[in-house]
Point group: D2
């Protein structure tokens, strides 16, 4: 894999692509890229053209000779790839709108990553990613798969468990934001802190120490997470204003203090479900669910992207919400390529890092990124205040993935029942059924069940 | 402990006592009882008199010379006891009414065993049981503690973990009903089936095999648990109509099939929370929560008990809901005393029986009852469809118990947050606060916090 | 499986067969046997005739109409079998003589069950048992396999792990003797004691309680195992004098006291290796290794068996060493057939019974014998004084079995290296090589390696 | 701990001290040292003077103003220490000679780290280290304890488990040599390889990857460990010839290949015990056990150290055998002080890094050295080819430590029985007894037992 790296980005027509290209350009000295292939599907052709041409302009403006290919032929693109990154969205943002609005129409949080919406996204995405993996086995068996398609943890788990493909890393920008928030609250540089993250994608906790070896976890909790408005302020302080992907409500101070470790922003869905729901219902009523806002932002972004004079990533992209995401992917690729031993938080096989979960499941955990992939740092055990909830979420994920692979309706219903964001009972079944029918086109594995539901 | 057994029943004024006495009388040939001490507190004095006199009449009518002592002096009663059974209710039924109605007033299930109500009951009960254990260490260090005070699993865990008292067994009648339902649905005698139960109190699953070694679990699921109305019918079929302690709604068939193991009736609170809530809210509106119904039943029972001609357990007791409970206690005592190696389902230290939980926690599991206590039968591992939820519930229990022992408000809030029956967020905090204030008299360990809440 | 039970005994020409037949006769009221098939191989034909005719005379004398078939056609025998018991010895006693004498010729204990000799026996036996399992899948897929071919634990593990056959139980007479010794030393009936056994075949420990719930483990240790000559005396006290399968040397008292649990007789090979070796080297010098003595005893037994007047199991069989073995098999079969829930110590899947070993390995553990097979009773965790040694032995077993299945010489060498009875280094390699060559005929899976060794 | 670091070295009179001083001097820019206190006992006074004066000359020659204190008053030295390093030897080299020669006199390997000799060293050392820890709690509660007194793993475990002191790191030079050997065999720089080590002190395995992410473990095995003479050559290739602390015999190729991971040199005691024993018996016969050779080397070193013109570490020190040891200590101290996140292999609490061992035991494992101490990198699980043996060794260590702390003879005998390097039986007891009596002066905790042994 020396020289002339070939990178393939599936879902290349995404609005994120300029950040990805920017990330590669920033690392041009570390990454001798030969070709970048942006792959999309027929429905995404127009966007692919727009963003692909921007990518070409950016690379040219940077004085680089990397070849950029735009294609709808995934298999052609994959031939001899070194790195394959996945950022596609089956059903596009309209599917996400359904993921969020259908549950909310029943008074239930949708949550596109590990709520009802995220589970449907897993149902749509997992068959596609497994297809990609089959292609990779044939066309680029040495390549690394860098996944930032959500639900990132479940998708990564599916690739390893059912795709039997080990060269995969799942990425997310939430840990990056957590690091920035902690550093900001302590008035320190990130580099001067040592972090340990453990948990699952969008469901991890962390601890932090300073250069003198003092644990600063409790201090960060007090300053940010156990203070009314603290988290909101901290998030606004981040350079990217778009990180407000989720309503900016405060945790319950006492509960967070009792944890003793720092939750991630997404934990609010679990720790203050009722409060989050209220805010989401308001957005729902106004037609301003997160998916709807993102769709609007995207439309604006693509307008900008069309400008033939634009040769850099526009700052407006940061509003999109995925800040740092693509940069993380570039850093990961550079770390693998150069065996940099960087510390990153990634979704990877547990291998004992978290004693409370089986060794063979995927977790999101601080890892050392080597040329042979991520090596997790030991987290150890969680206290009962977080352990059981983590274990439940992992099993919800496993059940969701199984349902996605087998097209097993009962497993899907089980996963909905287990998910703490979905009230169990007939309401869970109703939401599941409506979502299945709404996404029929992208759920071939559930075809028979959906037809039976429609026939009712 | 040979001959002249001394049995002490704390909460002796309970309406259950006649069943307990009946259970002892039935086993008179196995249990050479010398004395039975019924202990209660000042507030329960009248009931103690009534039920104590009935007990005396029952024993006399059975031609036995057992001495029955009625007392408010617990320490006097405990001296040299062989078996201490606990069936007390701190705050009496009025406390339970609050446990159920306060959460319902916020649209949340109360659930007196492992919902918000049950957690409050744990807060009230655990300090008292730990006091009893301290007395036992001093006054009857050889005695066995047979607990059927709810939440039975948490109370038993507290006794072992914080009381450091190992000679304790927690009892519940739910497994007994499960066995009867399975046998009924298969048209078989219970004795011709082999059961394995595993889980926690009011949160266990079971499997069943017939005499030919065929597993009949799936058949029981189909006939009872995955059939609309199946469970209701099965429960009505039980001799005791009073087992309908919980609303008689059907599970979701697909979810139960996916489990592959048989849930207990209380699992409905978790598996069909929304449906259960609806029914409970109706009862709430009518002033007919379970606690209120029980209070009424109890009043009627005590009227009956007063009848000096009554010399046997009145059949109406079965409506009370705790059918088989006291009989289980008697059977347990007889099994320990006689080293009977009976198979019973009890709350006891896990010791590896359930691989998914730590060895040192209390579980409710099929056990062999020997003279040195229960020896659990290996359950093994659960599938993801039940594993994580079980682990969460155990950690919710551990957090609740810790809060109860330490009077730690943050831990209490954590436990409320973890409990799947309580929506997390401000609503959880509100319910917790109202419950704490409402039960102030019985929560000395939370005194400062409650006063602060009242001052607000 | 109701009525007309068909039992197939592979290795039917064994000298043990009369005990087996006696065991069935004793249980004639529990076991409606239709046919008994005694199967052997060409080389065992004469013995099969002799012992088979004795079996027929015994059954006739008992007034039973069971049909006894003697055959060399294993597949014919297996058709529609209900129970298949295996007591064959690949290579007959001459192979065992080599197993014991070759290691001793290098100053190393042979030990036919889990020493160097036993490992070779595993190499010879496992391919054959896996063949039998393949036949059973085809010819009698409902049958139970009752194995008492040594090394019983490894053979059972191979059947489950590689044969993917779950209806198998491994048996051994050592736990039975341990129970008798404990009862004898306490002056109690076995029935009045409660035992918990945990460990591996020929490598288990136990604890014991009396009817008053008092643990008597320490008392048994003092009386039998920590007393010079105590074990010898206890074993002589057993009805069968032949249990002295292993040299009768005393343990080190302090080491056994430190254990806190009761070892089995075979633990002496591990706990006092040097002393055992000295005694074995003396026997070796005199041509009186255990295998040689057994061969002589067997010859005498078959002389007796020929007597057409003999219609009962001759008492001399007890000298043979396998006392209680066949009776255990009969009791196991009766327990499965009648769902007796008997407590027996068997080799079965761990399933969490011993927390220190993986759930999926085979252990020898107290179990409840039901119609669907053994259900282990939880042992829990071992202390460091026994835990690590148990874990090593299990991994030695797993490595041995893998070598046996794959014909993997390096794995075989690893297993020899791991085994505490074999000094590691060139000596281990030498002994392994000599044993492989000596058993060439029965080790087809190692053919290439053996030929290479011979060519050197 | 900013500026003016105070370092205390207990056993300061050791011949290693010049390497330690050299290590500090090399890192003068990272470590603003104020004072170095070299502490020894009365018997080591002369050596302390000699080596202490050399240390002063070395520091002066380096143009540094660090104050060097030589003292016999340990408590005075410890006041406000920042780092305490321990390199003392209770009973000096004469004790080691006994540790090695007494077992060899019975034909058994002594092995000063985890054989019979090492266990006795643990018995002598653990009470002293626990005393030091008690002093530290009082006099320098913020200090880090850097232990390289052997048996380093057991001493570190004792400090954590019984001393309840968490700020401790155990060090050893063996992993450093392993790294150098691997790099040498691959013709690569160490920095270009990624290593993962897991196991126990002197009983660990490792894997290695190159900068392209290819695992080179099998290649290193072939080139060094599975080749006759390969390891000897590799060790001679190390700059320091003194690493031949252990006889330089080759492993068995097939056994090492089957492992699939790279053993350490000390594994030869376990994997080729018999061959190692033969070589040691030859050295024993010639009065040239390792201890005797070291004693001679030390005498020569101290002659050199006396030379007032000597102002640097003499190269002859490398023959001593502990090469890299002290340098590792300096690097560790610099890493903690500067939060360097260096990767080092240290003895620290497992915390899940090795799934096959409890979380709370000490393991030797690749770790990231931060200002708050070592954070282990996940190793995961071992295969059966190494797992059980590792588990046995850990339990042998735990039993040894318990015996050392409690002065429990039966536990000591158990530990000897468990140790694979000691043949079990009367010979183990004899060796133990002779060693106890020989070391009487340094084993106060075994006083009664030793007097009883002497009286026999």
């Amino acid at each position: 894999m020396r020289g002339n790296i070939k990178i393939v980005t599936i879902g290349g027509g995404s609005s994120y692509t300029p950040e990805l290209i920017e990330g590669f350009i920033k690392r041009k000295d570390q990454l001798p890229i030969g070709e970048i292939w942006l792959v999309d599907i027929e429905e995404g052709k127009e966007k692919l053209e727009i963003v692909g041409n921007l990518a070409k302009r950016m690379i040219k403006a940077a004085g680089l000779d990397w070849k950029v290919h735009l294609t709808l032929d995934r298999r052609a693109a994959l031939v001899d790839a070194d790195f394959v990154s996945t950022q596609f969205r089956v059903g596009l943002l309209d599917a996400r709108i359904k993921d969020e609005r259908i549950p909310l129409s029943h008074g239930v949080i949708g949550q596109e990553t590990n709520g009802a919406g995220g589970m449907l996204k897993a149902f749509r995405t997992i068959p596609v990613i497994l297809d990609i993996v089959e292609d990779m086995k044939e066309l680029c068996p040495q390549a690394w798969l860098v996944n930032f398609t959500n639900p990132s943890g479940m998708v990564t788990e599916a690739v390893i468990r059912y795709g039997k493909w080990d060269k995969v890393v799942g990425l997310c920008n939430v840990p990056i934001m957590c690091r920035k928030i902690a550093a900001g609250s302590l008035g320190t540089e990130e580099e001067d802190l040592f972090f340990r993250f453990g948990g699952l994608n969008h469901f991890h906790w962390h601890r932090v120490w300073n250069k003198d070896g003092e644990e600063k976890t409790a201090e960060v909790i007090e300053k940010v997470y156990a203070t009314e408005g603290g988290l909101k302020k901290a998030m606004q302080g981040l350079k990217s204003s778009g990180v407000q992907n989720i309503p900016n409500i405060s945790f319950l101070a006492g509960q967070i203090r009792n944890l003793g470790i720092i939750p991630c922003m997404y934990h609010r869905y679990y720790y203050i479900t009722d409060d989050m729901l209220k805010e989401e219902l308001e957005s729902y009523a106004k037609g301003e669910t997160r998916a709807e806002l993102v769709k609007q932002t995207e439309a604006e972004l693509f307008e900008l992207y069309k400008d033939p004079e634009l040769k850099v990533k526009p700052t407006q992209l940061e509003k999109r919400g995925g800040a740092f995401y693509s940069d993380a992917a570039c850093e990961l690729i550079a770390s693998i390529y150069n065996d940099k031993k960087t510390h990153m938080v990634v979704s990877t096989r547990n291998n004992g890092a978290i004693s409370d979960l089986p060794n063979d499941v995927v977790v999101e955990v601080s890892s050392i990124i080597t040329a042979h992939g991520p090596v997790p740092i030991s987290w150890g055990s969680f206290d009962p205040s977080s352990r059981g909830l983590l274990q439940l979420m992992k099993d919800m994920e496993l059940t969701t993935i199984k349902a996605a692979v087998d097209g097993d309706y009962d497993a899907a219903l089980q996963a909905f029942t287990l998910n703490p964001l979905v009230p169990s009972g007939k309401i869970a079944q109703t939401i599941l059924d409506e979502l299945l029918v709404a996404h029929k086109k992208h759920l071939p594995q559930f075809k028979n069940k959906i037809e039976a539901l429609e026939a009712k």
